[in-house]
C-alpha cells in the first residue's frame, strides 16, 4: 500500500483551487487564466500518474481512505476516497483528454470576451469530474455528480446572450435532475437497508459481501433507481433529449463534457456499483442488468438512426455519443464490465478528438456548422483532416490500429454470449454498420467533394489547436496497443487477471465479423453519399441522398423521431398545467387566507383604535382641562404685588399664633 491514498483528495482539489483563483481574475488577464487552468490540469495529471503507479504493481489493488463528515447521535456519516484500477484508468483518461482540450480552448476561445470565465468553469468541471471517479461513498459521488451537472449547465449556457444556449442549459440540467431523483431515491434505500453508503470499508462497505447480504431483493430496485441517474447523465433513452441540444455550448465544452467525461460518468457509475447490479446473478444475468441491456440497445440503435439524417456537424457527433453510450451500457449489462470501461476510455480519446476536429473545422470555416455548406476541406485543412479521419476510423471500429475497433470487438463478443437473448447481438451488428455509415457520410460531406463554403476561404487552424488533435490521435492509436486481444493488458489491469502475449488469439471469428460489418458500413456510406453535396441525376445539390430516396423516413429521423415534441405535449404540458393550477391556488386560495387573517387583525385594530380615541384620549383631554383650570386658579394667586404677598404672610403668621395659643 502506498501513501498516495492519503493525498488522493488533492487530485480534484487542485483544479478546484485553480478555478477559484481564476474566478478572482479580471477579464484582461487571459494568459494568467489559461496558464493557471493548464497548470492545474497538469498537476492533476501528474498526481494521477503517481496514483496509478501502485495500482500497476499488484493485481486487484484497492486502497481506501475514509473519514467521518459529521456524527449525529450514535451514527456517523462517513465519506471516503478509493483508488483501484477502475479509478486510476478513469483518472488518467480524464486528465489527459482534459489537458488536450484545455490547450485547444486557448486557441478556440481566443476571440471570446469571456475567456477567463471559460477557463474558470472548465477547471471547476475538471475538479468535479475527478472527484466523481475517486469517491468511495455513494453520497460523495452524488455530491460531485451534482457539481459536474452544475458545471455542465454553466458551460452549455456559456454564451449567455444566446436564448437557445440558455434554454439548452436549462433543459440539460432539468433532464439530468430527473435522473438524479432516481439516483437519490436509490441512495436512500441503500442507506436504509445496509446502513452505510461507503463502497469499501474493510468489509463493512455496501459493495462488500456483508453489506450486500443485507439487501436481499431490494438490490434490484436500488440498482434500477441508481441506473436511472446514469440514464439521465449518460443520455440514455428516454432522458437523451438534452445531449443534442447541449451542442449550443462551445465546442471544447462539447468535447470535454458531452463526449469524453461527464457522459461517461453514468457508465462509470454503473461499473462502480456493479456488485449491486449483479447480486444474485444466474448465469451472469439479473433483472436490473436486463433493464440496462435493453435501454442501452434501444438508445444505441435509435441514436444511430437519427444521426444519419442530421445536418449539423456537432449534432451528428452528439447522437453518435448517445449511441456509443448505449453500446457501453449494453456491454456492462451483459457482464463485459472491463470491455465497457475500455470502450469508455477509448471513446473518451477519439470522441474528444472528433469534437475538437469539428471545432477546428468550424473555426476554419468561420463559424459555419452545416455540413451541407462545407466540402472539400481536406485540401485546406490537412492536419485536421488526417486526425479527423483517424478519429472516424476509431469510432467506426476499424480494427488493428485503432482502439475503438478492439473495444467494439470485445463488446460484441460479450454480447454474443448473453444467455437470455441473441437479439441485442444482431441489433448491435446493425448499430456498428450504422455507425460506420453516418461517420462516412459526415467525412464525405465535410472533407471530400466540391467546396461549397459561401464565405471566404477556409483555413487550417493554428498550432495551438492542431497540436491537441495530434496528441489525441496518437493517444487513440497507442491505446490500441494495450487493447488488442493479443496482449489484453488493459483488460487484465481492470479485472485483476494476469495476461500474456499471444498473437494467436488475434485470429478469432469476432474479428472477421467486425471487419465485415465495418467494411460494409463504410462501403455503403461511400456508395450512398459519394455524390453528396453535388447534383446527381435528378437530385438537386442541396438535398441529402437519403432524403431524396426516402423523404418520409428522412423527415422522421431528421426531426429526432419527434421525441422532443412528444415530451413537450405530454410531460411539459402537464408541468405547465400543474404550474398554472398552483399559481391559481397561490393567488386566490392561500393569498385569500392570508388576507382573511389580515382582515381579522384589521377588526381588532379598529376596535382598539376606537377605545383609544374615545376612551383614553377623552380621559387625557379631560385631565388636561382640569390641570389647566387648576393652573389658572393658582396663577391667580400670583398677583405680582408685594403687599398681597406680605398680607398672606401676616395672615399665616396670625393663624399660627392662634394655633399655638389654642394648643398650649
Amino acid at each position: 500500500m502506498s501513501s498516495i491514498i492519503h493525498y488522493l483528495w488533492l487530485i480534484p482539489a487542485v483544479p478546484f483551487a485553480a478555478s477559484l483563483i481564476i474566478l478572482s481574475l479580471p477579464n484582461t488577464r487571459r494568459r494568467s487564466a489559461a496558464a493557471l487552468a493548464v497548470a492545474g490540469q497538469v498537476a492533476a495529471l501528474a498526481l494521477s500518474i503517481v496514483a496509478c503507479l501502485p495500482t500497476l504493481q499488484t493485481n486487484g489493488f484497492r486502497a481506501v481512505q475514509n473519514f467521518t463528515w459529521f456524527t449525529f447521535g450514535d451514527n456517523a456519516l462517513r465519506l471516503g476516497f478509493v483508488l483501484d484500477p477502475l479509478a486510476a484508468a478513469m483518472l488518467l483518461m480524464i486528465t489527459v483528454v482534459g489537458l488536450c482540450i484545455f490547450i485547444f480552448s486557448i486557441g478556440y476561445m481566443a476571440e471570446d470576451r469571456n475567456f477567463v470565465r471559460f477557463f474558470a468553469y472548465l477547471s471547476f468541471f475538471s475538479g468535479a469530474m475527478l472527484g466523481v471517479v475517486i469517491a468511495n461513498s455513494l453520497l460523495l459521488l452524488f455530491i460531485f455528480w451534482e457539481l459536474v451537472g452544475l458545471a455542465s449547465y454553466l458551460l452549455i449556457g456559456f454564451w449567455i446572450e444566446r436564448l437557445s444556449a440558455a434554454a439548452a442549459a436549462k433543459k440539460a440540467f432539468i433532464t439530468t435532475r430527473i435522473g438524479d431523483m432516481g439516483f437519490f431515491l436509490g441512495m436512500l434505500w441503500l442507506y436504509n437497508r445496509s446502513g452505510t453508503l461507503l463502497f469499501y470499508d474493510h468489509g463493512k462497505g455496501c459493495l462488500e459481501s456483508a453489506g450486500l447480504a443485507m439487501l436481499g431483493a431490494s438490490a434490484t430496485f436500488i440498482a434500477v433507481l441508481i441506473f436511472f441517474g446514469a440514464v439521465g447523465k449518460s443520455g440514455q433513452f428516454p432522458l437523451h433529449v438534452w445531449l443534442p441540444d447541449a451542442m449550443e455550448g462551445p465546442t471544447p465544452v462539447s468535447a470535454l463534457i458531452h463526449a469524453a467525461t461527464m457522459v461517461a460518468a453514468g457508465v462509470f457509475l454503473v461499473a462502480r456499483v456493479y456488485p449491486l447490479f449483479s447480486l444474485g446473478a444466474v448465469n451472469g444475468v439479473t433483472s436490473s442488468l436486463i433493464v440496462v441491456v435493453w435501454i442501452g440497445v434501444t438508445t444505441a440503435l435509435m441514436a444511430a438512426l437519427i444521426a444519419i439524417a442530421q445536418a449539423d456537424i456537432k449534432r451528428i457527433l452528439a447522437y453518435s455519443t448517445v449511441s456509443q453510450l448505449g453500446l457501453m451500457m449494453v456491454s456492462l449489462g451483459v457482464g463485459g464490465v472491463a470491455a465497457g470501461i475500455m470502450h469508455v476510455l477509448a471513446h473518451g480519446f477519439f470522441k474528444a478528438l472528433l469534437f475538437l476536429g469539428s471545432g477546428s473545422v468550424i473555426h476554419g470555416c468561420h463559424g459555419e456548422q452545416d455540413i451541407r455548406k462545407m466540402g472539400g476541406l481536406r485540401r485546406f485543412m490537412p492536419v485536421t483532416f488526417v486526425t479527423y479521419a483517424m478519429g472516424m476510423m476509431a469510432l467506426s471500429g476499424v480494427p488493428f490500429f485503432f482502439s475503438g475497433g478492439w473495444t467494439k470487438e470485445e463488446i460484441l463478443h460479450a454480447v454474443g454470449h448473453w444467455p437470455p437473448s441473441r437479439a441485442p447481438y444482431y441489433l448491435m451488428f446493425a448499430g456498428v454498420v450504422l455507425t460506420a455509415l453516418y461517420m462516412t457520410r459526415q467525412i464525405i460531406y465535410v472533407f471530400f467533394g466540391n467546396p461549397r463554403l459561401s464565405v471566404e476561404h477556409p483555413h487550417e487552424s493554428p498550432r495551438v489547436m492542431t497540436m491537441p488533435l495530434i496528441m489525441l490521435a496518437l493517444g487513440a492509436i497507442l491505446l490500441s496497443l494495450v487493447l488488442t486481444p493479443a496482449w489484453p493488458w488493459l483488460h487484465g489491469f481492470l479485472t485483476g487477471e494476469s495476461v500474456h502475449f499471444d498473437l494467436a488469439s488475434l485470429i478469432q471469428p469476432m474479428l472477421f465479423i467486425s471487419l465485415v460489418l465495418v467494411g460494409a458500413g463504410i462501403a455503403l456510406g461511400i456508395w450512398m453519399y459519394r455524390k453528396a453535396g453535388a447534383q446527381d441525376r435528378d437530385r438537386p445539390a442541396g438535398i441529402d441522398p437519403l432524403e431524396y430516396g426516402q423523404p418520409g423516413l428522412f423527415r422522421f429521423l431528421a426531426n429526432k423521431m419527434w421525441i422532443d415534441e412528444l415530451y413537450a405535449h405530454t410531460v411539459i404540458a402537464f408541468s405547465w398545467m400543474a404550474a398554472r393550477v398552483s399559481d391559481w391556488l397561490d393567488r386566490n386560495f392561500w393569498d385569500g387566507l392570508v388576507r382573511g387573517f389580515g382582515a381579522i387583525g384589521q377588526v381588532f385594530a379598529m376596535f382598539t383604535s376606537g377605545v383609544d380615541e374615545r376612551g383614553i384620549n377623552a380621559g387625557v383631554d379631560a385631565s388636561t382641562v382640569g390641570a389647566r383650570g387648576l393652573g389658572r386658579l393658582m396663577s391667580a394667586a400670583h398677583s405680582g404685588q408685594i403687599q398681597i404677598y406680605l398680607g398672606v404672610v401676616a395672615i399665616g403668621m396670625l393663624a399660627l399664633l392662634l394655633l399655638y395659643a389654642w394648643l398650649a
Binding site: 396663577s635 400670583h638 398677583s639 405680582g640 404685588q641 408685594i642 403687599q643 406680605l646
Partner: protein, 104 residues
C-alpha cells in the same frame, strides 16, 4: 408707679399692628420700609420689656438682643433703600402696585 409687663406688651403689640398696617396698605415703597422699622421697633420693645421684668435683671441679655436687632434693622433698612433706588432707576416709579412683573 411702674407699669406692669402687660402694659409694655400691649404697647408693643399696638406698635407692631400699626407697623403692619403701614406695610400692607401704603403704596409708596419707603412707607413700607417705615412700617417694617416700626415692626422691628415693636419687637425691640418686647425684648426690653421681658428683660426688665425677668428675675435676673442684671444680665444684659435683653439689651444685647435689642442692640443686635437695631444693628440688623439698620443694615436691612440700608439694603431696602438700595433696592428701592435700583428699582426706581429701572422702573421710574416707587409705587409698588406697579411692580407686578412677577405676576403669573
Amino acid at each position: 408707679m411702674i407699669p406692669t409687663l402687660q402694659a409694655f406688651l400691649i404697647v408693643s403689640a399696638a406698635l407692631f399692628s400699626i407697623g403692619l398696617l403701614a406695610a400692607l396698605s401704603r403704596r409708596h415703597a419707603i412707607f413700607i420700609l417705615i412700617g417694617i422699622e416700626l415692626m422691628l421697633a415693636a419687637a425691640n420693645l418686647n425684648f426690653i420689656a421681658f428683660w426688665r421684668f425677668a428675675p435676673q435683671a442684671h444680665q444684659p441679655t435683653g439689651v444685647m438682643f435689642a442692640i443686635f436687632s437695631i444693628a440688623i434693622s439698620a443694615a436691612e433698612a440700608a439694603v431696602g433703600l438700595a433696592m428701592i433706588i435700583a428699582v426706581y432707576r429701572h422702573y421710574h416709579t416707587t409705587n409698588v402696585d406697579q411692580l407686578d412683573q412677577l405676576k403669573g
